[in-house]
């Protein structure tokens, strides 16, 4: 069981300010929860790097290779003279290559999204349904009571409407 201090804010800027202060006070595992994406999170919580673009690139390259091999490879393995054209007809196979590139690009992007965003996750995690409507929440992992007190104070100071203590299964 892990404990979290969770402050609810009515607007994104004060939630961001609270997060910045907590960060400054040495709290590391911070999470912002919001009904809309907040601009400027990266300035406060540090820059985010996602692996999704690598997935997309790799998926595209794999797809292109797969598409051309599928068309040209099977054409050679099952010889089938058609229309007096060469067995390996490059221009039409490039269209297949193109479609396969996009197909696998899409699939790999989705895989990258799932992996890097840690979804799907159906276990109970820190969450308050209000953040799906109009509240902006900052949650801080607290090791002990003393930590919690400090976090609570900072959150209140930053203008939190409410501070709750919530737990999460490990």
């Amino acid at each position: 069981m892990k404990n979290f201090a969770l402050g609810l804010f009515g607007e994104p800027s004060s939630a961001l300010a609270a997060a910045g202060k907590l960060k400054g006070a040495g709290f590391d595992s911070l999470e912002l929860m919001s009904p809309i994406p907040i601009a400027g999170v990266e300035e406060v919580l540090g820059e985010k790097k996602s692996v999704i673009k690598r997935f997309t690139l790799f998926g595209g390259l794999f797809g292109a290779l797969f598409g051309f091999t599928l068309a040209a490879g099977t054409a050679v393995l099952y010889l089938h003279p058609v229309g007096g054209r060469p067995i390996i007809t490059i221009p039409p196979f490039l269209i297949i290559t193109y479609e396969a590139l996009i197909f696998f690009g899409i699939l790999f992007t989705v895989a990258g999204f799932f992996i890097s965003s840690r979804l799907p996750a159906f276990r109970d995690r820190v969450y308050v349904p209000e953040t799906g409507v109009d509240k902006f929440a900052v949650s801080v992992a607290c090791d002990n009571e003393e930590h919690f007190k400090r976090a609570e104070a900072i959150l209140h100071e930053a203008g939190a409407e409410q501070v709750r203590e919530v737990g999460e299964e490990d």
Partner: protein, 254 residues
């Protein structure tokens, strides 16, 4: 052979243009329009040989007849100075056939005899080959056909009966070509002799307007008649490279 070897072999062999000219046979036909009287004996013979359905009056009026070979009639001039010309039109067995490239399931392809073949079992009936064919010689089975007794007794056992939803067309009587090749093999010969095999339309032509044979054999009747100065091919400008050559009708009055 490993897959890689098969791949490189295939690449070498089939990347070069005109590889289909090196096939075993290259069956071809010439049609002498000077000799054609438009009697339609070829049409009838084809119907009997290849189990073509008789679609009936109603379907015929809708334009759903199946005639692997048909006689096209063209009038020239105004009455009373009318000239009538016939062009028997059948599958041209093009070497660069547009119908073959378009089939998504490879139901039509070029075989080792240089024939443009149609695999009825494989056809899913997209009808795109009929659109791509500039000669309009591909026929679709819009319905299932039946032969009333005793007509069902005269069906040719060497040829299948096509079901609904399948495209069909002239095969140059591939069943006869197969038979001739088997006979040649039984006799210990490597090749079929000229004149040994004739499609039904050629066989039945009373004026010998149609000549059929292997174009790769320079002494064959068909190869000789293709060298005729009157020789031309229909819609040659489309570059489909047809195997059927027409000999122009020459008017005595010039």
């Amino acid at each position: 052979m490993s897959i890689f070897e098969r791949f490189t072999e295939g690449w070498k062999k089939y990347r070069k243009p005109g590889y289909y000219r090196e096939f075993d046979y290259h069956w071809a036909m010439t049609i002498d329009l000077d000799k054609c009287t438009g009697c339609e004996a070829c049409v009838t013979a084809c119907k009997a040989e290849n189990n073509l359905p008789i679609v009936g009056e109603e379907e015929f009026a809708k334009g759903r007849e199946v005639q692997w070979i048909r006689i096209e009639r063209y009038w020239e001039g105004e009455y009373p100075n009318v000239k009538l010309g016939f062009i028997p039109m059948l599958c041209q067995h093009c070497d660069a056939a547009p119908c073959e490239t378009v089939c998504p399931v490879s139901a039509t392809y070029h075989n080792q005899d240089g024939l443009n073949t149609q695999i009825y079992n494989r056809c899913i009936g997209t009808r795109s080959c009929a659109v791509y064919c500039p000669f309009e010689v591909r026929y679709f089975n819009f319905n299932d056909h039946h032969w009333d007794s005793p007509l069902d007794q005269q069906l040719n056992p060497d040829v299948t009966v096509r079901e609904k939803g399948v495209m069909e067309k002239c095969t140059f009587c591939i069943q006869r070509i197969r038979q001739a090749k088997d006979d040649a093999k039984d006799d210990g010969r490597r090749r079929v002799r000229d004149g040994e095999v004739q499609p039904a339309c050629v066989q039945s032509c009373p004026s010998n307007a149609l000549v059929f044979g292997d174009r790769k054999d320079p002494d064959s009747q068909v190869a000789k008649s293709m060298k005729d100065p009157r020789a031309y091919r229909v819609l040659e400008e489309l570059n489909t490279d047809p195997s059927v050559v027409y000999l122009k009708k020459v008017d005595a009055k010039g």
